[in-house]
Symmetry: C2
Subunit: 115 residues, 2 copies
């Protein structure tokens, strides 16, 4: 399986779905975004994350968590707080953040060799 | 707000998180993917969808649904079944599909004019 996919355990667990549109003034975003992705993966209770941003600057990042306490701790993490402030002040034209409980999960395609 | 964002109601509702890696042999995928995105939005119970695919061919599509019955009906929709078969047979190197119940949702940034 490709390293871009999160290797999550059997449900239930939580997903944080973060959809964002970057403004044209995104100086510093790429480095901070990468750093936050890596930092999230190191947090207690983080089960993995997946992220894609297209040429129109729309990105979707889904991080997976053991429980809601883990999500709350990540929201309050010091470096992450700084990144959130930059995002709100400068980088994001708009974002939607949704917290969801994963109930079922499937992988595919079955029966084919995978990367 | 930008049209790339789903205008979802207050939770609870369901999210289908579909992360996929396209193979190099993706003839026909772009047209089918666009058609399926538009078709999903027309299904009973669909609340919206968001999608991004990056230059490394990793894509995340999140569709939002009123309830699990709506998701089941979409999975069994005739044109969608054809698309699923093409995806499994030809287009996808790997995919992960997760079904989650959205419990909380936030928009931002607050206090700034939005697109």
């Amino acid at each position: 399986m490709n390293e871009r996919f999160a290797k999550t355990p059997a449900p239930p667990y939580y997903a944080v779905i973060f959809t964002s549109l970057l403004s044209q003034k995104d100086a510093g975003y790429a480095a901070m975004g990468d750093a936050m992705f890596d930092l999230a993966l190191k947090q207690p209770g983080c089960l993995g994350a997946e992220s894609a941003r297209d040429s129109e600057r729309l990105g979707i990042t889904v991080s997976y968590w053991r429980d809601e306490d883990s999500i709350r701790a990540w929201k309050a993490q010091a470096q992450h707080l700084v990144a959130q402030k930059y995002g709100i002040d400068k980088w994001y034209t708009h974002y939607e953040l949704r917290i969801a409980k994963v109930e079922r999960a499937y992988s595919g395609p079955e029966g084919r060799s995978l990367d």
